[in-house]
């Protein structure tokens, strides 16, 4: 599904990712953990196609295709979805309007007919149940005045509607209280499927109590310094990230 080989990325003069290697198979859920500034969000944005990052080395293959050669919209239409850490507010159009435009752009690309208003309404009514959202909320301007929890639920709603094959969740747990976290994680779990892979990026182990990954990778200073099964999260929780810093220092 996704193969990242020796990926190097710069922002300005600063090298943020310094040789990432990662393979994600179909249906697998991988968690990427790491302290602030380790490059987690950079990785998420590079995979989604954000322009102000400079890839200086390595390659990324998605379904056998060269992902880095694709525009953000091509990636989205091809089944990649990024749940943003800081979702954008767009006063003037509702979530419903925005999401219908997005879904139809994706459907058009896939050779499917555009959904009309009625069909879309039926679809979205079903999907908002997943994230326990009120329908009034999705008729309000997109994310404007939404609480942190509402914004994150809205991201998961978009994921449910756009039906991706690779979902990247960038710090989806940040700024959530425990109830919102439970709802958001519940939505994500309901979307787990044998043909859908996920990359769950988080600073805290807490989220992984709810979304239990198949693999965990620790990102530090632009490299994956440790990989393991879900138990690794518990080890990180008790020991913190410091114990992982020395091997990096030794390598560099």
């Amino acid at each position: 599904m996704l193969k990242i080989k020796n990926l190097h990325v710069k922002v300005g003069e600063k090298e943020i990712l310094r040789g990432i290697n990662l393979t994600v198979g179909a249906g697998e859920v991988h968690a990427i953990m790491g302290p602030n500034g380790s490059g987690k969000s950079t990785l998420a944005h590079v995979l989604a196609g954000r322009e102000n990052y400079q890839v200086t080395g390595g390659e990324v293959h998605y379904d056998g295709k060269d992902l880095l050669a694709m525009s953000p919209e091509e990636r989205a239409r091809g089944g990649i979805f990024l749940a943003f850490q800081y979702p954008i507010e767009i006063p003037g159009v509702s979530t419903t309007y925005f999401l219908k435009a997005a879904l139809n752009a994706v459907r058009k690309h896939r050779g499917l007919e555009e959904l009309d208003a009625m069909d879309f309404l039926t679809l979205i009514k079903e999907k908002i149940k997943l994230v326990e959202m009120d329908q009034a909320l999705i008729n309000r301007p997109l994310n404007e005045g939404f609480s942190g929890g509402e914004k994150k639920r809205n991201e998961i709603l978009q994921m449910a509607v756009l039906d991706p094959r690779l979902a990247i969740l960038d710090e989806t747990d940040s700024g959530l209280d425990i109830d919102a976290l439970r709802i958001v994680a519940g939505g994500v779990n309901a979307l787990r499927r044998p043909d859908r892979s996920m990359l769950v990026i988080t600073h805290y182990q807490r989220l992984l109590n709810y979304i239990v990954p198949d693999f965990i990778h620790v990102l530090f200073d632009g490299r994956i310094v440790k990989s393991g099964a879900k138990e690794l999260a518990i080890e990180l929780e008790s020991k913190g990230y410091d114990w992982l810093k020395s091997p990096v220092a030794a390598v560099s």
Binding site: E73, A101, A105, L162
Partner: protein, 441 residues
């Protein structure tokens, strides 16, 4: 034409029209006083305080002829382009003159008086002498002076105390082009009794190509606790010139919402002034201006907090493309005894091309010490983060840009309270930005 000649052209128009018909003597004196002001003031010079970025040369240099609206019949639909809901009461003016066949006054509540200014003057309605020229600053503002000197017709809306009108009234000003460029000077008066509620929609529309000049003035007086929803929609033809002034006087406890929407015209200047003249009065000013090509749109607003505990909330947004220019000047004056004033002003400009220009100037004059005042202004292109967000959802760059521009404008149109009007404006925006309209909103 030389400056003197330019002024003289209008003095001669004044002499031609003055004394025609049996009009009240106070009205004649008002007009005389106004033409004296105009003769003294002349056309404003570019760079003067109030006309810093807007040259009126294109207007002043054309000897616009006096329009005679009765001379030509209107062919084609004027209501759709003017966004008018035909089920509502309306007064229609063609080239500045009232048209009975196009107007409809059915369904108005008892006691509400709606008429053309000419007819109201002929009847010498006492409300006219009491209000006409009492708010408009014809001694200081050249175009207001010109309008006051040359006014012949326009809309008069008088709503009695306690009357709550369920449906809006549309005031429609249609300009037809003629071989010789025409000018019209619509003059409107709206008087709302204490505790009354009304929605008034002024719509200016040009339905033919060709050059003309509309110079409109509206005076609005709202007594205690009146609730007013006021719209001024301007969709002049692409070569039309439009200068408009609105003067609103708001008594204690009034709630005044104004929506200034500028969609057309090649050279446009709007002045909107609201005086919060009683304790607890509130005003909300929403503005949208769209300009492309080499059009020039200048919006000046002025809010005077004259009494304590008054509130104002202002949002003006502009989208400028091509080599268009948008000017926003937002003045807020807080008088010495207007303590506990709360005033918030925002102006946002979206530039869709490298050649488009926006000038934004907030102007706060605060003479009280216990007040909350804020202002913010932005000028810029579409937000890169927002574009990426949309593209990451599958939208092509052009599609994403069109959606964001549409949303930017719709943020203002979404505040329109009259559903039928909001839908019509939304349809217009959808076409402008090549979008599908969201149904049912």
């Amino acid at each position: 034409m030389e400056a003197l000649e330019r002024t003289e052209h209008y003095l001669s128009l004044f002499r031609q029209s003055y004394g025609a018909g049996a009009l009240p003597s106070w009205f004649g004196r008002l007009r005389e006083s106004a033409i004296e002001s105009f003769a003294r003031l002349g056309f404003p010079a570019l760079g003067s305080e109030e006309w810093k970025y807007t040259s009126v040369d294109p207007i002043a240099s054309v000897p616009f002829a006096h329009a005679n609206g009765e001379g030509r019949a209107v062919t084609g639909d004027i209501f759709a382009p003017a966004f008018v809901d035909e089920t509502c009461a309306r007064l229609v003016f063609v080239n500045g003159v009232y048209s009975a066949p196009l107007s409809s006054l059915s369904g108005l509540p008892a006691g509400v008086r709606v008429a053309g200014l000419r007819a109201a003057l002929a009847a010498n309605d006492p409300a006219l002498e009491m209000h006409l020229g009492r708010a408009a600053r014809y001694r200081e503002q050249p175009f207001v002076a010109l309008n006051t000197a040359l006014m012949e017709d326009g809309a008069v809306v008088l709503v009695p105390e306690g009357c709550r009108m369920a449906a809006p009234i549309y005031l429609v000003f249609v300009s037809l082009a003629q071989e010789q460029p025409l000018q019209s000077q619509p003059r409107n008066l709206v008087v709302l009794g204490a505790g009354s509620e009304a929605a008034i929609v002024e719509s200016y529309v040009g339905i033919e190509a060709g050059n003309y000049f509309t110079n409109a003035v509206t005076e609005l007086f709202a007594a205690e606790n009146a609730v007013v929803d006021y719209y001024r929609i301007q969709r002049e033809a692409s070569r039309g010139f439009h200068v408009g002034a609105v003067e609103a006087r708001l008594s204690g406890g009034c709630r005044f919402t104004a929506h200034g929407i500028t969609l057309g015209g090649s050279l446009v200047r709007n002045d909107l002034r609201a005086v919060l003249d009683g304790e607890g009065a509130e005003c909300v000013l929403n503005g949208l201006y769209l300009a492309d090509g080499d059009r020039h749109v200048d919006n000046h607003t002025e809010i005077e907090h004259a009494k304590p505990r008054t509130r104002s909330l202002e949002l003006y947004k502009g989208i400028l493309s091509g080599s268009a220019r948008g000017v926003f000047n937002g003045k807020i004056i807080v008088h010495k005894d207007a303590q506990k004033t709360d005033a918030r002003q925002t102006n946002k400009n979206l530039l869709l091309s490298d050649r488009a220009v926006a000038n934004s100037k907030p102007q706060l004059e605060i003479y009280a010490d216990d007040v909350k005042c804020s202002h913010g202004s932005t000028i810029g292109q579409l937000d890169g983060d927002a574009l990426f967000y949309l593209r990451s959802r599958g939208l092509a760059p052009d599609d994403a840009r069109s959606l964001l521009s549409y949303a930017f404008a719709r943020d203002v149109v979404g505040r329109v309270k009259i559903p039928a009007l909001r839908e019509r404006l939304d349809d217009y925006l959808a076409i402008c930005f090549d979008r599908k309209r969201e149904p049912g909103r």
